[in-house]
């Protein structure tokens, strides 16, 4: 059961984590904050951004701050599942006896950077499914557990769409957040250049280890959430489903496929962490509003009307948040 010391420690550690990451990453405050939230909450993150924007550097910096083993998997079209999970290797000892030995793949780490995940084949992509969901991989019928904490931070390039394989919905649903990294501003680019002129290596100092991270997660899990806020979050998720009673004009017109209940779980879990990182001991409606886009943007499929009107997922989600029906149950503005 969390006590005051745990809460104070959490706040201090959060502040230090942010401070250290800013030593390696310039700008991208929302992305950094949400990535940290996802890590504390135990979720996986899908980072989308053009090349050279700092996606890999962010992941490496996080690994340093959290003192977690880090591995990187560069997804290519010829990447095989065994390249991710590991394989059994036939070995012969000095006496000539032969036996299979499991050689773990790069997935056996705490932080896995799945770079350009959409370049691998669906078969290879699905190798991550079991690991992300069950924290285990099965190789030749044998189940191998992954250690906790375990995070997958996948990246994808929105530009090169040729020769890529879109992530299936089942896998997308297992990412807590999809975060979009945008181009830095001129001032930010200037800071980046000056910083990297000194060293290209990450300089963030460790703040918390695996055990500390798990403790932070446990503390955040105890944050109370009002019934009205839970209802609000669930109504928001239901509003993305065109066949739902909660669906309004936005869903009927712009959404082909809505979010699953896992989105509601992600919203509440992440909202608790966000509240605690902001010094609050309760979840607020603004937490749900702030996390709606990261949680939902990769979970909804837009309709042809939305595509024809060049609507983005974020614009549709913003419209959902403004719908009057959203405000009636649990929240009144």
């Amino acid at each position: 059961m969390a006590n005051e010391a745990d809460v104070r420690r959490f706040s201090a550690q959060c502040a230090q984590i942010m401070q250290q990451i800013r030593r390696d990453i310039v700008g991208q405050e929302d992305v950094v904050e949400n990535t940290v939230i996802a890590m504390i909450a135990g979720g996986n993150v899908l980072l989308e951004g053009v090349p050279g924007i700092g996606k890999t550097r962010l992941v490496r910096s996080l690994a340093r701050v959290f003192s977690l083993p880090f591995s990187r998997i560069q997804f290519t079209p010829d990447l095989m599942p065994a390249d991710i999970t590991g394989t059994n290797v036939l070995e012969q000892d000095s006496e000539g006896r032969r036996a299979y030995r499991f050689v773990p793949g790069p997935i056996f780490s705490s932080i896995v950077l799945a770079d350009e995940i959409n370049r691998a084949t669906p078969k290879t992509q699905s190798a991550l499914l079991e690991a992300m969901q069950e924290y285990a991989v099965t190789v030749s019928g044998e189940n191998h557990r992954l250690s906790e904490p375990f995070f997958v931070l996948a990246t994808q390039n929105p530009v090169e769409q040729e020769g890529t394989y879109a992530l299936p919905e089942a896998q997308l649903d297992r990412f807590m957040f999809k975060l979009v990294m945008k181009y830095p501003s001129v001032e930010q680019m200037k800071s980046i250049v000056l910083m990297t002129q000194e060293t290209m290596e990450e300089v963030a100092e460790p703040v918390v280890d695996a055990e500390g991270l798990l403790a932070m997660r446990a503390t955040a899990r105890e944050i109370p959430v009002m019934d009205g806020i839970v209802t609000y979050a669930m109504r928001l998720v239901a509003a993305t489903q065109p066949d739902s009673q909660e669906a309004g004009d936005t869903a009927h017109r712009y959404i082909r496929l809505g979010a699953s209940p896992r989105a509601g779980q992600a919203l509440i879990t992440a909202a608790k962490v966000r509240a605690l990182t902001n010094g609050r001991l309760n979840v607020a409606y603004e937490d749900i509003d702030a996390l709606a886009a990261p949680v939902l943007r990769h979970r909804i499929k837009l309709s042809y009307d939305a595509l024809a009107e060049r609507m983005t997922e974020d614009e549709v989600i913003a419209q959902l948040l403004r719908e009057p029906g959203q405000r009636s149950a649990g929240k009144k503005r």
Binding site: E4, M226, L281, V283
Partner: protein, 467 residues
């Protein structure tokens, strides 16, 4: 609820409760006032005034209380929601919802919520005042007050009240005529005042405007009685006129008015024959009818003071007829008594016609006889002792300076009440019973109806014994 949280919430709750009370009050008034206004208009139009304002006030209070308790009273959650809207990020709402949770995190969250509440000024909590609705309420209230204050005469008569309105108008006209009659009639001041007081009471009843249709005949009957009283109290010129007004004595009165002794004899004879032809209870009732009729005639004031001789004659007749009644009770034959009574009355009337003041002659003769006896007794003590049982010390106005024809309380020729100044000492004289009996009896007849029954019998027995 946690004590600290409750204490921190209370100033906000008070503010919200005041807002809710105002809203309940206004909504309650909006629910009640239109009905009250409609009810007041309907009641006024139907001329059925009811305590609509008092009922509306009670209904408003009850409605407002019910609305407050059942709908408007702010709950903790509602209050927390509104307080959180001040930028508290749902801290208060979470604290209220988890007030029963005893975990460390819940306790810390409640403490954080209390801290946030203490940093927030309760006056910053926006409360809405039902201004527009309040204005509507005030307009309705003003309309209700105006309708209530309108005089009843503004409202047209209800369909069923037209006939009543006509009847009331007729009664008012009669009242006005009766007032005119009383004010111009020749009445004593006290009689006039008494009659006008009765008239004013009836007028007040009409002015209230709340008479039922069933009360109008009773008022009309009272007016008839009042008119009869005016007639009764208006003096007549002669005693014969008073007799003529009474049906039983009309023929007698007409004969006297015509100074026709033959007709009078016939009238008396007819009465005598009718009375002697009855027996038992029938005779008693018939005799008493004549007695009461004579008494009623004697109550009518007579302008001519000399007419009291006639009144006295009929007073004697009445007394003798009463004696005849007593004879019936004693199972005695009263035929001769009745005949003698009417003969005596005939004779007295004859004397009146002849201009004799029979009473004063008899009184003078009696006094002369008494003086003679007293002188004789003074000269010869012990002889012819006066039987003092035959005389009485009486109030003797002539001894006090009363003029001839003086009758205490009667109207003189000028229409003024006869009275004399109070003397320094008692005005006493000794008068034989025979001289005063008639006056005694006449006075008794005038007031016998006002006496209790048992006193009537006592007085009648006393006068009978004197006779």
């Amino acid at each position: 609820m946690d004590g600290e949280l409750k204490r921190a919430l209370s100033p906000f709750l008070r503010r919200l409760r005041r807002e809710a009370a105002a809203r309940s009050g206004v909504n309650g008034a909006l629910a009640v006032l239109p009905l009250a206004l409609a009810g007041e208009i309907v009641c006024r139009a139907l001329h059925r005034p009811l305590p609509v304002a008092a009922c509306a006030l009670g209904a408003w209070m009850l409605t407002a209380a019910l609305l407050y308790v059942l709908r408007d009273r702010p709950t903790q959650r509602e209050a927390a929601r509104r307080i959180d809207a001040l930028g508290l990020h749902e801290a208060v709402g979470t604290a209220v919802e988890f007030q029963g949770c005893d975990s460390g995190m819940c306790r810390m969250q409640r403490a954080q919520a209390v801290e946030a509440l203490e940093r927030t000024d309760p006056r910053s909590l926006p409360v809405s005042q039902p201004v527009r609705r309040g204005a509507v309420c005030l307009c309705l209230l003003a309309a209700l007050c105006i309708v209530s204050a309108l005089p009843q005469s503004v409202w047209p008569d209800a369909p069923g009240d037209a006939a009543q309105s006509d009847a009331v108008s007729l009664l008012q006209a009669r009242l006005d005529a009766l007032r005119q009659t009383i004010e111009t009639a020749e009445l004593r001041a006290e009689d006039r005042a008494q009659l006008l007081a009765q008239l004013d009471a009836m007028q007040a009843q009409l002015d209230e405007g709340q008479l039922d249709v069933s009360a109008l005949p009773e008022l009309s009957r009272r007016m008839d009685e009042l008119a009869g009283s005016v007639d009764q109290l208006t003096p007549v010129d002669t005693y014969a006129e008073a007799l003529i007004e009474i049906e039983l004595l009309r023929s007698v009165g007409e004969a006297i008015a015509a100074e026709d002794e033959t007709a009078l004899a016939q009238a008396f004879s007819e009465m005598e024959r009718r009375l002697t032809g009855l027996s038992g209870t029938e005779q008693i009732n018939a005799l008493m009818d004549v007695v009461y009729a004579i008494g009623s005639s004697m109550r009518r004031p007579v302008r001519d003071a000399r007419q009291d001789v006639l009144a006295h004659a009929f007073a004697v007749l009445s007394g003798e007829l009463e004696s005849a009644v007593a004879m019936v009770y004693n199972r005695q034959d009263n035929t001769r008594k009745i005949a003698g009574a009417f003969d005596g009355a005939q004779e007295r009337v004859h004397d009146f016609f002849a201009g004799k003041d029979l009473e004063r002659e008899e009184a003078a003769q009696e006094q002369e006889e008494t003086q003679r006896r007293l002188s004789h007794w003074a000269d010869k003590p012990g002889e012819n002792e006066i039987n003092h049982g035959e005389v009485e010390t009486v109030y003797d106005p002539p001894a006090g300076g009363a003029r001839d024809g003086y009758v205490p309380g009667a109207l003189d020729a000028d229409g003024q009440v006869q009275r004399i100044a109070a003397p320094d000492g008692p005005i006493e004289g000794e008068v034989p019973y025979g001289s005063v009996y008639g006056a005694y009896y006449a006075a008794y007849l005038q007031v016998q109806d006002q006496l209790p029954r048992e006193l009537q019998e006592t007085a009648a027995a006393y006068l009978l014994s004197l006779q």
